[in-house]
């Protein structure tokens, strides 16, 4: 059982870099008074989006309601999410990584995969040391910590980065891979959920090593092609390539917006839903895509969610086409008198917008006219900020700054002379 999986140390070197408690760490980097203190973000949503390590140590977890937080950790600092600043940090983190290798996959706002293969000579040191250099640069320039895992594939690199956190650095070469896998429970593996874990346990498997010791046919028979890929990944055989092209195309686009306090007013909830539709359409048009399916969700104050989806006659990303459909969905699921806390719109089954086909009863001229209108809306948006021109229903949405204080991030509440509410200088603000 102690036999190595491979005798090669580094046939490939893939790093997974994961920022520690990212949102909370960014707030601590900008505000000295939050350092070494329990901080959580997500106050505007009423639940914890990210908790600093100080807060985690006190038992605060992601997704916990704020009332719970103040009960278990009364001195916790509750902050609204400042996504603009988090995105700026995220971009900088990725550009620091690109100093070391051009092959960086921005996997999410706070994590990335890097292909470091062959960069040892360039940086004149081993892979683990390169990981440490990236970690140091990020710490020095952004004052946040990241955990780095380096191994032979994305899957194993991710296991490594989770191995020691925060500010961890774990490198596992091929000849030691079996030691890592032997210590990894199946449920901890990226891509194995509770159901798969249960299934594999029925076959007597406990650890990731048990899984890769079985022949690949076993993985394929039980879990299909995905299982076979997973099997290869865990053996360090690099099944999953680094995707540097990035998200050129989206599979689906969703816009969710929570509003506080919860609202029952039909017009306002409807206007919120429409605003989400507009936002999703803007994003779809940016990727030059149109949606074949439209989904609307309404979430009540009690967190019960109603949703309805509809397939569209003609794929579109123009609110002019989709508004009527959305309102139809809305009328089906809106219950008068009920308090709502969020609306969500999903554009699904996205396809490239190039081949425009008209139905036999449609008016091509009108459709083209609408398309031109929204091209103009996008151009204006680019110049003056998103949603500069919006559907008139949007007027019913209460102003952003309304609601209890402390629900708007500082960066949005304090606009510098010369900035507009939608366009800010592209540098993070220290406070």
């Amino acid at each position: 059982m102690n036999q190595p999986i491979t005798i090669h140390s580094w046939p490939r070197a893939i790093a997974h870099i994961d920022a520690d408690a990212f949102f909370a760490s960014v707030e601590q980097a900008l505000h000295p008074e939050y350092r070494n203190r329990p901080v959580i973000t997500g106050a505007e949503r009423g639940i914890v989006a990210a908790a600093s390590y100080e807060a985690k140590a006190r038992g605060v977890k992601r997704g916990v309601p704020l009332s719970e937080v103040t009960r278990i950790c009364p001195d916790c600092i509750l902050l609204p999410s400042d996504y603009e600043t988090y995105s700026l940090f995220s971009k900088r983190m990725f550009s620091i990584m690109r100093r070391y290798t051009p092959e960086v996959e921005e996997y999410s706002i706070d994590e990335a995969f890097l292909d470091l293969t062959g960069t040892r000579r360039l940086h004149r040191t081993d892979y683990k040391e390169i990981g440490r250099m990236i970690q140091d640069d990020i710490k020095k320039e952004l004052d946040i910590t990241v955990s780095v895992g380096i191994s032979l594939s994305k899957g194993t690199a991710k296991l490594c980065s989770k191995f020691r956190k925060p500010a961890g650095l774990t490198a596992v070469p091929g000849k030691h891979l079996h030691l890592l896998l032997a210590r990894t429970e199946l449920s901890k593996v990226w891509g194995i959920g509770p159901n798969t874990t249960a299934l594999l346990q029925k076959h007597g498997l406990k650890t990731a090593l048990d899984f890769v010791r079985r022949p690949s046919e076993f993985a394929k028979r039980l879990l299909g092609k995905v299982g076979e890929e997973l099997w290869l990944e865990l053996r360090g055989e690099y099944a999953n390539r680094i995707d540097t092209i990035g998200k050129l195309k989206q599979a689906s686009i969703s816009k969710f917006k929570t509003f506080t306090p919860p609202i029952a007013d039909r017009d306002v909830v409807r206007a919120r839903a429409l605003r989400n539709l507009e936002g999703a359409c803007i994003k779809a048009r940016r990727y030059d895509q149109v949606a074949g399916k439209l989904v609307l969700y309404l979430r009540g104050q009690d967190f019960s969610t109603d949703g309805l989806e509809i397939r569209l006659d003609r794929p579109s990303a123009s609110p002019a086409d989709l508004t009527a459909t959305l309102l139809e969905l809305f009328d089906h699921i809106y219950r008068s008198g009920k308090l709502y806390r969020a609306t969500g719109v999903v554009l699904a089954e996205l396809v490239d917008s190039m081949p425009l086909q008209f139905g036999i009863f449609e008016e091509p001229e009108k459709i083209l006219k609408h398309r031109n209108i929204f091209e103009a809306v996008d151009a204006i948006g680019e110049r003056f900020g998103k949603h500069t021109i919006f559907l008139s229903d949007g007027l019913k949405i209460p102003m952003q700054h309304e609601g209890p204080r402390g629900r708007v991030p500082k960066r949005r509440a304090e606009i510098l002379h010369g900035e507009t509410s939608r366009q800010h200088i592209k540098l993070p603000m220290l406070h």
Binding site: P32, P364, H431
Partner: protein, 195 residues
């Protein structure tokens, strides 16, 4: 109203431009497909055709793609059609934007809105914006952002032998002699005041 084709997306052009800069040639069809995430070369062919129709690129006698003129924004030095750049154009190449001038290290620079008047004699006033760079060593005489009593404060950084002094640019404020470890938020690189 006519069924005018959609104009070429600027991002498409930007991608090609980057490829050209890196490789000094335009992509092949299979590279095009990879670049834009198409699964078939046919889609790449259609895109290329569109770019040809719009006059961005052309095919050479071997059927390879090559740029025409400066439509791709690629300066073709020595290309006959481009002619000689005028001296004025030449000069424009080596300019800094105000942004580049003020922010030397974009990944390590932050803004701070100044409060208080402790640095007024250094020309830094309440409401000004300062650009602060992190991760660089503070030298004697620099204006730094220091963390004192859990707050950011701007002061001159001065060394007196082993001792570090945080000196205000206003006689009404005391010189701070930090005890223990001093946390620096960075070094001030620029002051901005917009009227």
């Amino acid at each position: 109203m006519t069924l005018a084709p959609k104009p070429i997306d600027e991002r498409v052009v930007e991608k090609l431009r980057r490829f050209y800069r890196a490789n000094r040639r335009l992509p092949t069809y299979s590279e095009l497909a990879q670049l834009f995430g198409y699964s078939s070369k046919n889609a790449a062919y259609r895109l290329a055709q569109k770019l040809i129709d719009e006059g961005f690129i052309e095919k050479d006698e071997m059927g390879r793609l090559k740029p025409i003129g400066e439509r791709l924004g690629i300066p073709l030095i020595g290309y006959v059609q481009a002619g000689f750049p005028t001296p004025a154009e030449e000069e424009l190449i080596d300019t800094l934007s105000l942004d580049e001038y003020l922010v030397e290290k974009p990944t390590a620079s932050f803004m701070l809105k100044v409060s208080g008047d402790s640095m007024k004699d250094a020309g830094i006033h309440e409401g000004d914006l300062v650009i602060v760079e992190r991760g660089c060593e503070a030298r004697h005489g620099d204006i730094v952002l220091a963390c004192v009593d859990r707050e950011w404060t701007l002061k001159y950084y001065e060394r007196n032998g082993r001792e570090i002094l945080l000196v205000p640019a206003n006689p009404d404020y005391p010189v701070i002699r930090p005890k223990g470890e001093l946390t620096l938020g960075g070094v001030v690189k620029a002051v901005i005041r917009k009227y």
